[in-house]
């Protein structure tokens, strides 16, 4: 009984999360689809938690330990790499108005002086 109710609760969470996902993601514009993909990619790195949970179990043999260390390493690559690379991409989008203004201003000056001379 207890297991069954855990299952149904978790399935309910699963279904609701699916709908929330559809609603939230539908609002992301085409322009941001690459960062979206790499951002959601980072989020599924949450499987790292699974590795952390399972590694705590006692009586691991050497082979189990190897598998789990690899799993944790994979999960960490997924999470850390995913968020960092997404941040790098998004910074370029965000800082554009400012950066463009900064870059353009000196470039404009230089170009402006060029023809004037």
């Amino acid at each position: 009984m207890i297991l069954a109710s855990t299952l149904t609760t978790n399935l309910a969470i699963l279904v609701l999360a699916g709908f929330i996902g559809f609603v939230v993601i539908s609002k992301v514009p085409n322009t941001l689809h690459t960062p979206l993909m790499s951002g959601t990619n980072a989020i599924h790195g949450i499987v790292l938690l699974g590795g952390l949970l399972v590694v705590g179990a006692s009586g691991n043999g050497t082979f189990n330990k190897i598998i789990l260390v690899i799993a944790i390493a994979f999960g960490t690559i997924n999470v850390v790499g995913g968020f960092l690379v997404t941040d790098r991409m998004l910074e370029m989008f965000k800082s554009k108005p400012k950066a463009a203004a900064k870059d353009d201003a000196p470039a404009g000056d230089r170009d402006g002086k060029g023809p004037a001379q």
Binding site: V24, I43, D104
Partner: protein
Amino acid sequence: MILGTFLQDQSFLDVLYIIAFGLFIQGLRGLSGPTTAVRGNRIAALGMTIAIVATLLNKFEGNWGLIVLGVALGAAVGIPAARQVKMTAMPQMVALFNGVGGGAVFLISWSEFRLTDGFTGVATYITVFSLFAAIVGSVSFWGSNIAFGKLQEIIPGRPISFGSAQQIVNLVLLILALAAGIDIAAGNHSEAIFVGLLVCSALLGNAVVLPIGGADMPVVISLLNAFTGLSAAATGIALDNTALIVAGMIVGASGTILTNLMATAMNRSIPAIVAGGFGGGGAVEGAEGAGEHAGTVKSTSAADAAIQLAYASRVVIVPGYGMAVAQAQHAVRELTKELEKRQVEVSYAIHPVAGRMPGHMNVLLAEADVPYDQLKEMDDANPEFQRTDVSLVIGANDVTNPAAKNTPSSPIYGMPILEVSDSHSVIVIKRSMNPGFAGIENELYYDPKTAMLFGDAKSAVSEITAELGEL
């Protein structure tokens, strides 16, 4: 039973997990606009940190050494990779990160199997979800690695397949993996069966992605992304962890939406793409087409192209994967600045599947500081071509191919394209007459108003800019 051990008294932990997935959702909401997106990503990263800390707080027994070792290894690989990867190589990077996620999923499932002596005394539904995670995670891991190999050009981009037997091979592998899963769920505790399940899934992942042509890679990556998400959600149900369920499912939903969008933008169904082989037949037809057309291609020089551009009043730049490969985005930006000094109106027309992942061109042009409002999506760009003097196609191919509109026998017939042939004249910068990633000949190049400028996108664009300066 390991789950029992983990589930002791975790109300506090549950609250932390709820906060974590709340932050994921809030973070993703931020991605709806370029100004809020950085913050959104950081909010999601904060949620992840909370979820990880909560899990570590819950550790009842040691093995900290293993955790530190795993995290250190992962960080040592992941951080430099993320810091150094070029924006042009982003599709490969995403494929790789996606793959390791899938890898973690199937390894976790495997160790659960071992720790419980083949799911002995584990509720059937937990076994079923673990097995689902093992199969899907393994398919995603191997599929993503193949996608990475193709994008990195370690493996040829052309479809590699068993021909007509491909579908049967895939089906047999899927049935074998499922049969192994059913056997285990029915109470077989043999590890050999579980390893067999992993091997069949691994072969399936290879067999599904190898025959898929490079042009379909955006779809494949986003489909595999959805797969990894779903397998993470399944792991969450098996481990009774709400943060995993919610995060995994949201990624599953996101991947599904993107996959659908991509498939629509290519006018192809997802099953047709997964069935693969696209591009193989097209390449043969293309080869014949090249024979017929040969000799009618007009080529131009950087100097002539510069003159043509300088006297235009409206120029549309159509970037494609060639621009990415040549790292030409900064050179293109310089050319744009030079043209704008001459009062030429410049905008960029971006096809939804230009490049190797959705939105790839936008990222590259953002990197080169191209203003946001100059980037036009396909539906806004197409009506404008008729009043465009020169369309400058830089390394884009299939997304401009009029065969998609005019030739019902073409493999890409029906795919929405950027209608550059509506403009008064077209300049195409391309390395050679080789067909594109889809392996299809492009009629546009034989159009009398098209001039080809052969060369590397970056040097060709820089030469045009230099010539413009001398005019």
